[in-house]
Symmetry: C2
Subunit: 101 residues, 2 copies
């Protein structure tokens, strides 16, 4: 089970609709995102907050945030500067397409 | 922390790119999805597999599946019959837009 205090945050390009990445938010990360307009998340591996682009410059300008029907997932529409993925790919889903049989 | 055996599955409309819902998959649900071409998930609340649309008829015809850079999130492109959300809304993100300040 997911930590009940964490919501999954789906990040979508506000321009062309491509899904860029998935990250995690607690209430504080959501508050910071809503008040600063910068995608801000909770790192489960590091146990700390991170602002997307803080070191890479690949900032997310948040245009809209919606909560899903059961309140545990967020959908962010963003203007993404540069690559969304830490690998340098535009999205985190560009590298590994699985075969449908 | 999420159950390490579960991957988050983001479901996107293959036609217009709208994000429809988020669900969960283990390896078996992914295998069933890839081999049947129908969105099949693991229900964390019920502890069982479910095929989207099995009771509602709102089936997902899966067109593509991609794994993200760190291997814990899937992105599905689907042709969605009817509403994706159990509330009857087209997506699970239609009802609750949060205010940006």
């Amino acid at each position: 089970m997911a930590d009940p205090e964490l919501k999954a945050a789906i990040v979508q390009d506000a321009g062309d609709g491509r899904v860029l990445m998935l990250a995690w938010m607690d209430d504080e990360a959501l508050h910071r995102t809503l008040t600063t307009g910068r995608g801000t998340y909770w790192s489960r591996s590091r146990g700390s907050y991170w602002v997307k682009g803080e070191t890479s410059g690949h900032v997310q300008h948040v245009k809209a945030v919606a909560l899903d029907c059961d309140g545990d997932t967020l959908l962010l529409q963003v203007d993404q500067e540069g690559a969304a993925c830490h690998t340098g790919d535009r999205t985190c889903f560009d590298a590994d397409v699985l075969p449908l049989s």
